[in-house]
């Protein structure tokens, strides 16, 4: 066995080598403040990732690349977060570990439940309840209300609602024939989606407004039979965004910052200009881990982790991350096309679109290609809610990649 050595052609092993080198670099960087628990946590994470990838290969009959891609993304994220702030890095290790556990739990659970498709009404009420909770108990943070705190644990209900919404849309279109027969049945989903978007707007969570709108539009484009309605929706969403620009100052400010952040460099444009400095400073190859100053960017480990990665690892790594997301989305779509069960086909699509759109919005935002809205990069940014919900979504996608023995009714 030992004579065979490590097979470098197995991606799992390449990931392992990458992580070991990065971990070593990090330990060198923090060699003065290193304690034993950090080393143990770091090594155990690498071990968990390796074992999980190995186990998944044995367990699943479906896709065995998406989990690998995601663990690669998380590894890059954790290295950067740990370099910026070791305490946060420490917590992030726990979140990733928990995320992987939740991934497997979701995987086994979703496989067992057979009636997911017919719970349309539950998805709806659960979402409404979460929205209500956010508005009642939510704490305003940077202008948006999207955090609630229960018994000392804070979380973002929107992260859960995202998954619920995908289930909602999937169960609607999976039962489309039944809904069509009802009076107004054609408009159920449209109404619900506008309600959701309205709630998000009330929370002033513009990033989520964008994510939900695109998710909804994309799935409606694929599945809705009334094509005029699709077109109309498209027009309405564009019109309302123009209206929002005119009416609401906080929307207008985002646009103004986007057009010329240098004018507001001391105030509202501070974050984005700091982000641009970081990316510009990195060049193609980056300054090297620990040699840049990503800590100049406020909120760097959450919304601006991409800028930090670009500064210290170069935009080539940045492009690498974009490509990883591209492959993830591509695998997701492939899973969807191969899935015979319509409900899971739509769920797989929804999750892939979610990953794609969410990462695009924040990548585009921090490089000033599109207006900036503060959201996290799935699997990469620091934060529990985002990490856990993303791993749950991945677990569902993993189920959807297998041949399911659910009867098509």
């Amino acid at each position: 066995m030992f004579s065979k050595g490590i097979n470098y052609k197995v991606p799992r092993n390449l990931l392992f080598i990458f992580e070991m080198i990065a971990l070593f670099l990090m330990f060198m960087y923090y060699k003065n403040s290193l304690d034993r628990s950090t080393i143990i946590y770091g090594l155990s994470l690498i071990f968990i990732v390796y074992i999980s990838n190995f186990l998944l290969l044995k367990i699943t009959t479906g896709d065995n690349y998406i989990f690998l891609i995601v663990t690669m993304l998380s590894s890059i994220g954790i290295i950067m977060i740990y370099r910026i702030n070791p305490q946060q890095g420490f917590k992030q290790i726990v979140w990733i570990g928990l995320g992987i556990v939740l991934f497997f739990a979701t995987y086994f659970m979703i496989k067992k439940i057979k009636s997911l498709k017919s719970w349309f009404i539950y998805y709806f009420f659960a979402s409404i309840a979460l929205f209500g909770m956010t508005l009642l108990l939510g704490e305003r943070f940077k202008g948006a209300i999207n955090w609630i705190s229960i018994g000392g644990i804070t979380f973002q209900p929107t992260e859960v609602i995202k998954i619920l919404t995908i289930f909602l849309i999937a169960s609607y279109y999976a039962n489309y024939d039944k809904f069509k027969e009802k009076k107004w049945g054609n408009y159920y989903l449209v109404g619900i989606m506008y309600l959701f978007i309205f709630f998000l707007f009330l929370q002033r969570d513009l990033g989520s407004v964008l994510i939900f709108s695109s998710l909804f539009l994309a799935l409606q484009y694929i599945y809705h039979e009334d094509r005029k309605l699709v077109l109309l929706n498209f027009a309405v969403l564009i019109l309302s965004s123009i209206l929002g620009y005119i009416i609401f100052p906080h929307v207008r400010i985002r646009f103004e910052i986007w057009i010329n952040p240098w004018e507001h460099i001391d105030t509202t444009g501070y974050q984005i200009t700091q982000s641009l400095f970081a990316i510009a400073e990195g060049g193609f190859f980056g300054t090297g881990l620990g040699l840049g100053h990503p800590d100049f960017i406020p909120e760097v480990s959450k919304d601006f982790i991409f800028s930090a990665i670009c500064e210290e690892m170069g935009i080539l790594t940045g492009i690498g991350i974009i490509m990883l997301f591209l492959i993830l989305v591509y695998r997701g779509f492939k899973i969807s096309i191969n899935q015979k069960n319509k409900f899971f086909r739509i769920v797989a699509l929804g999750i892939s679109i979610l990953f794609g759109i969410q990462s695009f919005i924040i990548f585009g935002g921090v490089v000033k290609m599109i207006p900036l809205t503060g959201i996290t990069i799935p699997f990469v940014s620091y934060g529990g809610s985002s990490m856990l919900s993303s791993f749950i979504a991945l677990g569902i996608l993993q189920v959807a990649s297998e041949e399911l023995d659910i009867e098509e009714v």
Partner: protein
Amino acid sequence: MEKEIKRIITVLVGICALFVSLVVYLTYFQVFKASDIKANSYNKRLWINEEKILRGSIIDRNGRILAYSEKDGDTYNRIYNYGNLYSHIIGYSYRDYGKANLELHYNNVLLNISESSALNELRNLVEPNSEGNTLVLTIDHHLQEYSRNLLKGKKGAIVAMNPATGEIYAMVSLPDFNPSTLREDWVNIVEDENSPLLNRVTSGLYQPGSTFKVVTTAALLENNILLNQYECTGSTIIDGYELKDYAGKGHGNINLEKALIYSCNPYFAESSLQLGIDRFSEVAERFMLNKEIDFDLPVKKSFFPKRSVGKTDIAAASIGQGKVLVTPLNMALIASGIANKGDIVKPVLVKEIISKNGKIIDTFEVEVISRAVDIFTANELKNMMVYSVNIGTGKNAKINNVRVAGKTGTAENPSGKDHAWFIGFAPAEDPQVAVAVLLEEEGSTGGSSAAPIARNIILEALRTINN
């Protein structure tokens, strides 16, 4: 099902397009925008490195310290020894107001940091960088001070340089400002309508007036267009426009040499029409008009009209009026070119760069940037310019026992009073110094106001500068 898959693929293609555009944008950003953005003074990365390094001194050609840095607690203070005198050469370096002139363009040299930050980090491991390099200027402090005193109270520009090597001995632009008290004066400086921040030598564009006739003469000599029996009546009509001499009275029967000596407008106007714009502009461009001039500070491009020009435009250009616009530095280069056997050399402000250990790590090299005219034409021009000073319009530039070559100019200024010009060099047989003097909106002739200033500068330069 078929339709569904088609639409799914459409959405996939859409998302892929978004990601690809992201990659393209990021690359575009890095290639075209990044360097400008990095240099923004709000980028704290610039300062974090700088504040640990003792910024190098700036000294004149004789070793006199013009600017240096001094430790003050944890930070370094920049001291400018001569206030206003070097505002347009050295400029300033402040955390809150940014940098200008040599402080800006030689920032990395003064801090001894290289372009690549990774390389810096590596080097810092071996030998921590604590002290920058010293800049040795080609400026002669005495001549610089002397020249500024001559210009005091006026608006304008002076350049004095070595025509053979391109070394700038003095470069004055007034009004100027005091870099030492920039913080207190900032609002006044920015709001002053005379724009004290503008370096008139390199960035001011003016009509050259009759000084430009040396370029016209060069073109006429080269193309052998010599009106030998021209009868000057003091004015001529071109395309319905009357073009007059400065005094308005005729010069009588003259040839090209006399036309230049007495600065006869009708002569040049008439003969330039025979020359034509193509041949004319070709020579003008060899004298660096319409050309980028590579210098230690950014230089505006001088302008010579080439497209959509009528007869009146050509006639106006021949006497340095109309659309022709030049920088005083360009005029000094024109004089230098004629002095230097027809070759224009690259102007230089930084003579040497010396490391903190006293080692010379870079020395400027003489570089011919344009062969303006051949040696015969240059000699003929030189002789005409000597006559112009001895018996013509430039008499006020005459020096006993030294043959001065020069040309005066009085440029009509559409937006105010006339500009007074003088360009020249001396000694004619072995030129040591070339000058250009511009008095902006002076309202008198170049012969009466600019020529005496040029004379004094030439005399002082010949007296004090030894190479």
